[in-house]
């Protein structure tokens, strides 16, 4: 079965016909209301004035039944017409299709959009190199010394490692700029070596380095990590124990010498 709505040849005329039908049924319903009021008044007056009231009551009952059926019929007619008017969405779908076609197929708009895109891309290309927040990160050991002098855009928000590296590379250490604080950086595991007497009897302080405390210096922040060496070092077995014993003997001898010197 074909839907009669879809096989309509002239939808505008059909729509106007539906609207006319709906208005007509609504007008009939309104007229029925006044007729029912008039009939109710008539039945009441007749019932009061008549002698045989049973007949009047029976006639009134029949009329009420017929009026009820008529009201239901009119209401059904009105609702059906209104439903037909509302659900007749072919016009809206047709308009939507037309608008979509205009939006997609319209050649002038399409060409204008393409040209605008090209122009905008040309403007973007002519602006030159712009700062990019995502720069490639290279390890400082792979960087040549010649490229350290190349001016780079100011990097803000990079990691602290590169900042400390730059500070260490670009800034020369000047004693005039050294703040009042001096820090004696001693490598504690090598303490016995630094204070160990040389062959000529003098104590060396080669490993005793004096470093100023400055912001951004990575020398102080980088501490010796013994666990790293332990991870990479092969197992020594008994030699480790032997070396530990030598370490303890050296420390004891060192303490004795300090006591003797004092």
């Amino acid at each position: 079965m074909e839907d009669p709505k879809c096989t309509r040849t002239n939808p505008e005329a059909d729509e106007s016909e539906d609207v006319v039908r709906f208005e007509k049924s609504l007008r009939e319903l309104k007229d029925l209301r006044s007729q029912l009021h008039f009939a109710a008044d008539y039945c009441e007056s007749t019932f009061l004035n008549a002698e045989e009231k049973n007949t009047i009551v029976d006639n009134t009952k029949e009329y009420v039944c017929k009026a009820m059926v008529t009201v239901v019929d009119h209401l059904g007619n009105v609702s059906a017409n209104l439903n037909c008017c509302i659900s007749n969405a072919c016009e809206f779908s047709n308009a939507e299709l037309r608008i979509n076609c205009l939006k997609q197929v319209s050649p002038f708009i399409h060409i204008a959009r393409l040209l605008l895109c090209e122009e905008y891309s040309g403007k973007l290309a002519s602006t030159g190199v712009q700062w990019d927040a995502v720069l490639p990160r290279h390890s400082p050991r792979y960087l040549l010394t010649s490229i350290t002098n190349v001016e780079r855009p100011k990097e803000v928000g990079r990691d602290s490692e590169t900042q400390t590296l730059k500070a260490g590379e670009n800034r020369e250490f000047k004693t005039e700029d050294v703040p009042l604080f001096l820090y004696t950086h001693t490598n504690k595991p090598l303490l016995y070596k630094s204070l160990a007497p040389r062959a000529d009897g003098r104590k060396t302080d080669a490993n005793l380095s004096i470093v100023s405390v400055r912001d951004g210096l990575s020398i102080l922040s980088k501490s010796f990590n013994p666990t790293f060496h332990f991870q990479g070092a092969p197992k020594l077995g008994r030699n480790v124990l032997r070396r530990k014993s030598t370490h303890s003997s050296d420390i004891i001898s060192l303490i004795r010498r300090i006591r003797w010197s004092t």
Partner: protein, 85 residues
């Protein structure tokens, strides 16, 4: 005689009671149908409102699309140099 009159009265009362019950039944039928009619009207109102709301949304969407198309056509027609290149 008095007995026959009493029976007649009783019959008349019975007939009147039966008629009263019939009338009550009729009124209850009518009131029930009126209630059904009212329910139908309420349901029809709700359905019609929802359909009209959906139609309103569709019309708004179509209106916005038409406005967008109008702006695009106006922009393209205001710059004829774009078509000459």
């Amino acid at each position: 005689m008095a007995r026959a009159g009493g029976i007649t009265n009783a019959v008349n009362v019975g007939i009147a009671v039966q008629a009263d019950w019939e009338n009550r039944e009729f009124i209850s039928h009518i009131s029930l149908n009126v209630r059904r009619l009212f329910d139908f009207l309420v349901q029809f109102e709700a359905t019609t409102k929802s359909k009209l709301a959906s139609l309103n949304e569709k019309l708004d969407l179509l209106e916005h699309r038409l406005e967008l198309l109008e702006v695009q056509v106006g922009t393209a027609s205001a710059n004829p140099a774009l078509f000459n290149t």
